[in-house]
Symmetry: C2
DNA sequence: ATGAAAGCGCTAACAA
DNA sequence: TTGTTAGCGCTTTCAT
């Protein structure tokens, strides 16, 4: 219980260790040109005084905080918590704190998030940007090390980590076909800049069998009804994501039909609840935790001075009851 | 496209507006003693130059960042994303960025989060602390404005927002009883510092009808089996949370029984998937988004100089198919 | 109502 | 290998 709440500064440590401020700085930042003996002594003094460097003062000199930003549309959308968990774990392992910006996929909110990231002097940023255009993203990438998720690089300097939607979609369609479904329809998500799944679906299923709806359970129910109204012969349904697929399964049940019997439904993402439903949802699994981890890994390598990388994560199909 | 990437500082604004640095500071921080005319002129200049004050420099003077911390055990646990969303929205409305600390309810991780919060000079903190003891929490509360969630105040200076577990539990038990179930059992969560639900259950159901398990789906399945093995006559099951309840429903199904028929299951929290299951889960609903919002509101009032508040949110029962 | 001076705690550049 | 010097950009006295 020794006294007060005054801050222990680098000068206190320097004085106590009998060295200069600079030497303390060197010791704690693992800079070269310091003897092992002094280094150890200084570190011990730091420990002893429970000295914690001021993030503000440090940031003021370096213009970089020990913080990374995570930009995503909606943490309440069950896809993102798992990704966020991967990001948090990997960031914590690197000693980075994570600031989360929730945007609702709104262009203004994404712009504002970018501004906040730059203003805060974030060490880097990871983003699921759905509304911002490439020039804006490239501009952000010029101001802060940036890794974008599930989107093409807007600029060579911007790193990317993507999940392979095309392969995933083919996996889903091939499975439906292998189960004997010849007439397929798709429930697309009415979102910007996510054409890959629809395009891949149309490659093997040309025609007018795609209905778009908000990527929610309610959207899925409505979309399924309108799809079947338009094309009653459809027996295989591929959905943009699990939420839509779940809505479809529910709409089917309300109509007295059960997914997995004559009609099949395949979702995308494999969110937690997919396995818990009845029937459990057949879906394209993407490793969301791994995506989060990888995003941080790629950002970390960027921070360590490596050039921007571009990684792709492979999806796999999880066959359950619904198809 | 005028030139470079040099920072616009307060001095640039001062020069451009023909005033001193102080006056700029006064204008942007709404301090008194400044004429309306100068104020407007300075603000216009700020706009024009797109000046953004350095968070580091400001923090250095004030020792407070424009950041709040959110400490929670696991963002991937479906209870928390909804809370987090409420926190993000309310914080954004106040111009605060949110740093998330994921702890896994581990004491060391919670301690470390507290340290990080203090070091970062967070304006305030919101926390679901499960492992930290009251003295540690009180100590943290002395260093930063703190609001703890779902936990008694460890100290008068620490604000709280709680959901009323006791009432929620009584709601659940009364419902089961009103449905004719006389022998009730409980699936408790094997977690620290969350005795309210078990205690409230035991108030009306004394005896040895409580089984504890990790608050997960797998835990729920196992716990249900051991509960029924021990007390085969039980027909009404109350679970610590929805995850346990879902596991129970699944274990029942695996045993050829269906929740909602002869045996009833009531969960707690009303996570998103509760409504989507088959049978849909009867559960005690707590408004998670509102909890998040309220946590920020209470923190905000604290930051505005008001004393620590203590709020309680009322739960309500949502009757669906499982009971 | 406005300005001048001082300094928050740190690190980069240079000297020794 | 170590120390000295000089700010980073802002707000808080205090003076005017």
């Amino acid at each position: 219980m020794s006294g007060g709440s005054v801050r222990v500064t680098i000068d206190d440590v320097a004085r106590a260790a009998g060295v200069s401020r600079q030497t303390v700085s060197r010791a704690m930042n693992d800079k070269g040109d310091i003897s092992e003996a002094t280094r150890r002594r200084v570190l011990a003094t730091i420990e002893e005084l429970d000295y914690r460097p001021s993030a503000f003062a440090r940031g003021m000199r370096t213009q970089r905080a020990g913080t990374v930003a995570l930009v995503l549309p909606d943490i309440a959308n069950p896809f993102f918590p798992a990704v966020a968990r991967g990001v948090f774990d990997a960031a914590a392992a690197r000693g980075l704190a994570v600031v989360v910006h929730n945007t609702d996929a709104d262009a203004d909110a994404e712009t504002e998030a970018g501004r906040a990231i730059v203003d805060a002097g974030a060490a880097g940023a990871i983003g699921f940007f759905e509304a911002l255009d490439d020039p804006a993203l490239a501009a952000l990438g010029r101001r802060v090390p940036l890794v974008v998720a599930d989107r093409p690089a807007p600029d060579p300097s911007v790193a990317t980590v993507r999940t392979d939607f095309r392969t995933g979609t083919h996996l889903a369609c091939e499975h439906l076909i292998s189960r004997g479904h010849t007439r397929l329809g798709m429930l697309d998500g009415a979102v910007q800049n996510k054409p890959e799944r629809r395009q891949a679906f149309l490659e093997t299923n040309p025609g007018d069998h795609v209905v778009a709806a908000p990527p929610t359970v309610a959207g899925g129910a409505a979309a399924l009804r309108s799809l079947l109204a338009r094309h009653p012969a459809i027996t295989g349904v591929f959905a943009f994501n699990d939420l839509l697929a779940i809505g479809a399964v529910q709409a089917l049940r309300a109509a007295g039909r059960r997914a997995g019997d004559q009609i099949a439904v395949v979702g995308y993402d494999d969110i937690t609840m997919a396995a818990l439903l009845d029937p459990p949802l057949t879906t394209v699994h993407t490793d969301k935790y791994e995506l989060g981890r990888t995003l941080v890994e790629v950002l970390g390598r960027r921070l360590d001075g490596h050039p921007a990388e571009h990684r792709t994560l492979a999806p796999r199909l999880v066959v359950r009851g619904s198809a």
